[in-house]
């Protein structure tokens, strides 16, 4: 946990501070220096791309945006999903049935269609991508949380709280939600990589991050096209993406063990 957390933190700090250490700007093109291999001489640590832009700075920018998209999308899905699922599961009965049928209906909407609709209806911006990704992920989260809540609801400490007269809101947020933590943490560590992948997919279709802004996903896409001549364009962002995903997974595992340890006798 310490190692993967440390690596993630290091990457994050680098992504924030890195661009200042470089003399180059992420959007500056330089046609005299296209496809430069990584070197310290020209201060192009990660080389340059087909337009001569410095890849180090672009990669750092990509990490920022990728992590931002992932974290914000996960937080959005966490907040909506946990609240929605816990309420549906705890209240039960007709409310549950109506709420979950709504989820089923949203499931039935094709995701791409939904995103394209959003993009057409509103101006294309960052926020919208977060919302689109979060809006997809919370459906899974709501289902998982609802299932857990159904079984937690039968536990006797919930009955004890009801007998005392604890309000329904407090039961859901103070009694049920903390006990969902283990499974929610695991699921969030799965949504972060998923959100990263969805984001790069959208960028590839031209629906996501727009040039000259970039993300790890679009960098990898760009790299794929040039991988015969300039392998670094693919390898460096792909390796960083893999490293981030792995760290997220390990961190999630460790966090789950940490929360479980409390329950173990």
């Amino acid at each position: 946990m310490k190692k993967s957390g440390g690596i993630l933190l290091f990457i994050l700090v680098l992504a924030i501070v890195g661009p200042w250490l470089s003399p180059h700007e992420y959007q500056d093109t330089n046609f005299g220096e296209i496809f430069n291999a990584p070197s310290f001489a020209g201060m192009h640590f990660f080389g340059t791309d087909d337009l001569g832009r410095d890849l180090f700075v672009r990669t750092m920018l990509g990490i920022r945006i990728t992590l931002l998209v992932a974290v914000v999308a996960s937080v959005v899905s966490l907040l909506i999903g946990v609240t929605y699922g816990a309420v549906a599961g705890y209240v039960g009965g007709r409310v549950d049935a109506v709420m979950m049928r709504f989820v089923d209906t949203l499931y039935a909407l094709p995701f791409i269609f939904f995103v394209i609709l959003l993009m057409v209806a509103f101006e294309r911006n960052f926020l919208l991508i977060f919302i689109a990704i979060g809006a997809i992920n919370w459906l899974d989260m709501a289902r998982i949380v609802r299932g857990q809540t159904l079984s937690l609801r039968e536990r006797e400490f919930v009955d004890a709280a009801r007998l005392t007269g604890v309000s329904t809101a407090r039961i859901i947020f103070r009694h049920i939600a903390p006990n969902l933590l283990g499974i929610v943490v695991v699921y969030v560590t799965l949504t972060i990589p998923q959100a990263i992948l969805v984001e790069s997919f959208l960028s590839f279709l031209g629906l996501g991050i727009q040039e000259p802004q970039t993300s790890l996903g679009s960098l990898v896409d760009g790299g794929v096209n040039q991988m015969e001549g300039a392998a670094w364009m693919l390898l460096i962002p792909a390796a960083l993406l893999a490293l981030i995903l792995m760290c997220c997974n390990f961190l999630g595992d460790a966090l789950r063990d940490f929360f479980d340890a409390r329950k173990a006798p």
Binding site: D159, L163, T164, G165, N179
Partner: protein
Amino acid sequence: MSLLEVNDLTVRYGDSAVVDSVSFVVNRGESVGIVGESGSGKSQTALSILGLLPGNATVTGSIRFDGQELADKTDQQLDAIRAMSIGIVFQDPMQALNPYLRVGQQLRQILLQHELANGAEADEKVKKMLGRVGLPDPERQFHAFPHELSGGMRQRVMIASAIICEPDLLIADEPTTALDVTVQAQILDLLEELRDDTALLLITHDLGIVAGRCERLLVFDGGRLVESGATTSIFSSPENAHTEKLLAAALRTDRGEIRAAANGKTVLGVDNASVSYRDKSKERLVAVTDVSLSLREAETLAIVGESGSGKSSLVRGLLGLIPMRAGRVVYAGESLEGPVQFRSAAQRRDLQLIFQDPASALNPQMRVQTIVGEPLLVHEAAMSADARKESVASILNKVGLDESYLRRFPHQLSGGQAQRVAIARALILEPRILICDEAVAALDGSVREQVLELLNDVQRDTGLSIIFISHDLAVVRSVSHRVAVMYLGQLVEVAETASLFSRPRHPYTRALIDASPIPDPRVAPASAPLKGEVPSLLTPPTGCVFHPRCVFAQEDCSKKQPGLRRFGGSRVSCHRADELEL
């Protein structure tokens, strides 16, 4: 040569020894009881004999079975010995049986695996064995899945699988703990009957079970064997202080304590209460039918009955945790309506419940301080955080826990401590009525005594009324003023404790009393007083619900419902209550 010789056995997990230099022998054909509280190392000892301890356990010492050293054996050799010579019956047969295999298949596999029989011969043998362990209609049960059987029947299947290879040693680890008293008596009888010349190692926390059934006893405490000897001599003159403590807890009926007399004022009345559920196929299942009871001030009213008798459904209904289909609950002159969240704060505050399993009744993510303080947060919203903390500390103190427990999480508490925390939470609002739903069933003997003592003190000091649900008649006898006996959702007898035990008027009451084990080796255990098991609530018997299992049943009993009638101070629901001498 002894059948089993255990010498200097030590089981360690890391640095802590859970079994510490234990030595004992079991002779051929002998029945030996291992008794001790939870955590005393009795199950670990049994598992080490079987070689079933988890991989992180280190076992030292020697275990010789039939002259062979088991510690040196490879897993494969152990498998052969386990299967052929040692049988095991676990506590929970649902865990021990494979839910995806039919009962017959599971038993058949044992025979095939060890090449004791094959094909049709194996089927035949399995069916015979199912018949021997008392499964009605072995032909049909052969094809049943474990979940289609009742707990008692499953335990019979487990016993069948343990003895089908005709072992020399049968180890039974708390074989009846998960079962009702009446079924417990049947299973113990069965073990005794099938044993013949097989040696039996019976592991239990209940001295009543071993008293009349085991020749010798081994008493465990904290991983050590503290006393061993003939059962009779251990009961009559225990040498070890811990054995004395266990015995004292088991013989609690002799406490001879004078209990505060209940005064006459009724605080809670239940009129014609009925509770029903719908099962998955939407069929109505009536758990409680037309029950009327009253609870007086400072009185302890016990509700007893086998599982499925509706005792928990009744109190959950009256508390408003589940809806009641019919009937009325009157508290302090007011009718308690609807689910608990619609009742007034005062009503909620005055009725509190203590659950059976403290581990499940305390939120694992909250500290003791928050758990116990929460009722104050709800009902005394104006109270400052400091004042709240103070009153939490003082109530914890009252239940025997000091301030160091405030910051703990439930998993850092023992079963007894957790139950105290649950009691503290129930008592912090100073309720008028406390409902204990099997509140001491999960606790060890000595801890149970302390908890009962605590409830008794509170009742004496504050005039608390208690509804005490239990299946353990010995406990009921020592704590309650009146007893209500329930069977299949109906009240069959209500009487003062003393008169209920000295002169039960309903055959079911008599059977329950006879079924509870007597912790006295001089009394030969009576054979199981009730045959069969509780019928399904979906298809309750006609007439008197008890008639299919009643030895006194007459023709009329299956046709007419008896209804409760008065006999002196008791109310009894039996056609023959006036003529039977029970």
